[in-house]
Amino acid sequence: MEAITITLNGVEVSGHPGMTILELARESGVDIPTLCYDPHLIPIGACRICLVEDERSGRLSASCVTPIEPGMVINTKSPKVMERRKMILKLILASHPDTCLVCDKGNRCELRKIASDMEVGLIELVKIPQLATIEEVNPFIERDLSKCILCAKCIRADHELVVQGAIEYINRGFTSKPATLNDEPLEKSECTFCGTCVAICPTGALMETKRPYSGTTAAIVSTICPFCGCGCNIDLEVKDNQIVRARPGKGSTVNRGTLCVKGSYGFDFTRSAERLTSPLVKVNGDFQVVSWEEALGLVASEFKRIKENYGSGSLALLSSSKCTNEENYLLQRFARSILGTNNIDNGSRLYSAANIIGLGSPVGFPGTTNHLDALEQSDVILVTEVNLTSAAPIVEYAVKRAVKYKGAKLLLIDPLQTGLSSFAHLWLRPKIGTDIAFINGMARVIVTEGLLDEEFVTRKTDNFEALSSELERYTPEYVEQVTGVPSDDMRHAAQLFAGATTASIVYGAGITQHVTGTNCVMALANLAMLTGNIGRRGGIYALQRDCNGQGACDMGTIPNLLPGYQSVEDTESIKKFADCWGTSLSADVGLTAVEMIEHAKDGKVMSMYIMGENPVLSFPNSTLVKEVLESLDFLVVQDMFLTETAKLANVVLPAASFAEKEGTFTNFEGRVQRVRKVVEPLGDSLPDSEIVLRLANSMGCPMPYSSLQQVMDEIRDLVPLYQGIGYGSTETKGERRDELDRDPFRNRRLYKGQFPSGFGRFSPVQYEPPVEIPGDEYNFTLLVGSILHHSGTGSKTSRSPRLSEFSPEAYVEIGPSDAEQIGIGQGDEVKVISPLGEVTTVVRFTTTLPDGVIVMPNSFSSTPVNQLFDIVLDPLSKTPALKACAVKLERI
């Protein structure tokens, strides 16, 4: 491509063909005001404030939509340009209310900013106010369209970025305005309250309904969203040590100007009145406030006593998939080098541990194999058993964009209807728990019809023969009989997937939370390798539920793996760490999360240290978990809140929130991103890292770090995946860019077309009928899943006033005909009963469920659904089955 040279304000500059004048000007450091332009959106040239003059003809054109042409002589500030721009601004202001003084958009208002930059003050035009009423009752977004300048940014963001289609222009000409279908209030529309349009609106027309704190922003700090594993960049605006609002991080390639409702409106849990502000020690059944010294002294002496009396193996630690990499690293070092045990695991065991073997053994790396951009560029996207709307909103946006704007075909495999169903080219609904049969069926079609990528299979993989002979069983007829999906549809799916130049696979907890989770992940990996969609194009996208699920595992809070997935049984690895830490280390594989409970029940584990996890709600069989934790010799819980688990503790240590600490999170793609301190820790709470370091001191074994930077340096030295990653940051034009941001994937070899071990290895897996099938008495299959407005066990989101106001309580979704059969109606209170327990909730009709299937959300402490599940572990990943179980319903 030839560069095009133009003259810009008297200086020659060059750009590439197709570039607009505005883009080239901004690149060259020339500022042109804009109102309707946004780098994430397709420009429409509506506001015309970005006018420039071509001096050759004297013609004015909108620079945001005018491509550069050779020989142009552009003046961005000619008298004519300035005059016209001023008049346009005056025209806008003439129909804008004079409420600037009391408008909360304040100094963030782009209209006001441009007006003052251009010295437009009092205007001589006639005021033509636009009338508008504010009728919303939702806790998130308030629309005051009297301030709308009709830039259509909100509409375009809604269509082009989040692809929700909640709003559109209605009416035309002078009465046009952005509105929902039939001009209903937002809460009655398709709107998900992602807040993307609010962040992009240049004026005060779209704003937050309720703010946790009002005031003019004094500083903006970029950090990472503390909820799901997408790792959205957020900018937190701060004033008086309080967070005023969250906005999508600027320039982020993860979320590209978008967020979901949790990222936009969920951060206020950080200032919840329920936050713990000082250490607590239980004396005679009641908590007493104590000093840090006292609390840590007690913990240290108890840990020492238990270790001495019962051995290191009697101690177990549960680390958090919501804590930073540094914190996870420190805790595992504490466990291994000070307590002397490998009994350390993290919360992601409950949902994504299947990746560790499921991807680790065939692919060589236990995580997503490509970045989000590549997903959006795929021709075919296979989404299996995951409701992206709630599990990974940002990934959902990317998939929808790929389908709507890039011609990708979506292959949706899910028994349930999701937000993606209407985008699917093919939506197939296999019976619950039959995914392996289905995927193997696809693989067999690909092999028998010769659709595989032979060159890739020959050169990059091994064990193909074993796979193809194991696949024999999965004839289309057999698969149809098992899954209930017509064999033609299955074959069509296989052909579509194999026929694509680039195909990607997305999966989440719907796959990994079954007892056969690991096998199912392997089946998916086989499919990707058969078609050559791994390591060079396409890829496998393994979602993470928590903000640092991936990082926690990378950091080795896993009982059999040291940081960087180096085995504790490997003498060289053990030696490497032992040398660095100057101590000897145990080579015995430790206990996984749920095994800790089982061992505690048998009296083998006497004491636990739980950081940022809430097993009473998140583990299966809550009743047992609670009993066991209560009976422990000594329980320490470190958390922001007095959770159901913390209530059982002997010592509770108050932890700082994500906004009160430094560190890094690794998102589901493997992108290592900086978490920054935005406000001071509340009360006496401390960052988890600080607590662990202080505890090590109290144990008499101080760890040699004076800053988190040093922790990261050590990680960099010992963990090949994190080589070259550091905090080093550069400050340009007041914007901080971390080195991390520039090449966050530098060590993921898969992104560069290489399997870490040289070859991908096919791992044949067999379908086994699900154990959770309903019988005569327990005649429904209950599926449990996350919902958009909450995350995890809800310990944070239930304390976010706006989220909990909007989504206050649990419910059970059931098909009307199923409901009729057992005589229950919409809104009735029912008991959901399994052989193990029962919960009470209300009925909500959903017409799209398969017969005999009911669905409940898992994030409400008042309706602890996990209490219905018995402890059944995936034999390979030790992940408890928490997705499906057989239940019955009883009306109250």
Partner: protein, 210 residues
Amino acid sequence: MDFDELAKVGSMMGSGGMIVMDEDDCMVDVARYFLTFLTEESCGKCIPCREGIRQMLTILNRICEGEGKEGDIVMLEELSEVVQDASLCALGTTAPNPVLSTIRYFKDEYEAHIRESRCPAGVCKALVSYYINPEQCQACQICLRECPVGAIMGGKNIVHVIDQDKCTKCGTCLDVCPIRFAAVEKLSGRPVPAAPPQGTKVRRVKKAQQ
């Protein structure tokens, strides 16, 4: 006459048409008429067109209402320029033509509206009043009967008087007043003379004298 020629003389209304008018047409009103039409046509997408036309129409309305201000003509010209130069499509870039061409050729009419509150063509209702000349009125009572709002007072042999507050300026009285009396007058740019005292008898015009 073709399009180019039309454009050259600056008489382009809308896009290429030409409209022939006589002195009974008020040029400010004509411009206003076109802009009203354009406000309904504008898609509303770009700001210069949407807001510019709306502003121009407001100013034209004001002039026709007799509330025109010194500076309005300049403002109309400035607005026209921005709408012409900056609009997104041809609807916007040609929208100011009716305003520009009327200002160019009939500036005096604009000025009459603004400075003298006079509509030379007598079209702008706010700038005209109807008046019954007491000298001419023969109390035939036709106008009194026909006035749709009952604004005319009078009686047999009594000079008729229009109640200016009630009058809607529909012009019916002027239309119905018999030509031979020609008592109703349309005034613009000058005040309505004071009405004769109530009950003034008509001045009979003797047939013989004719």
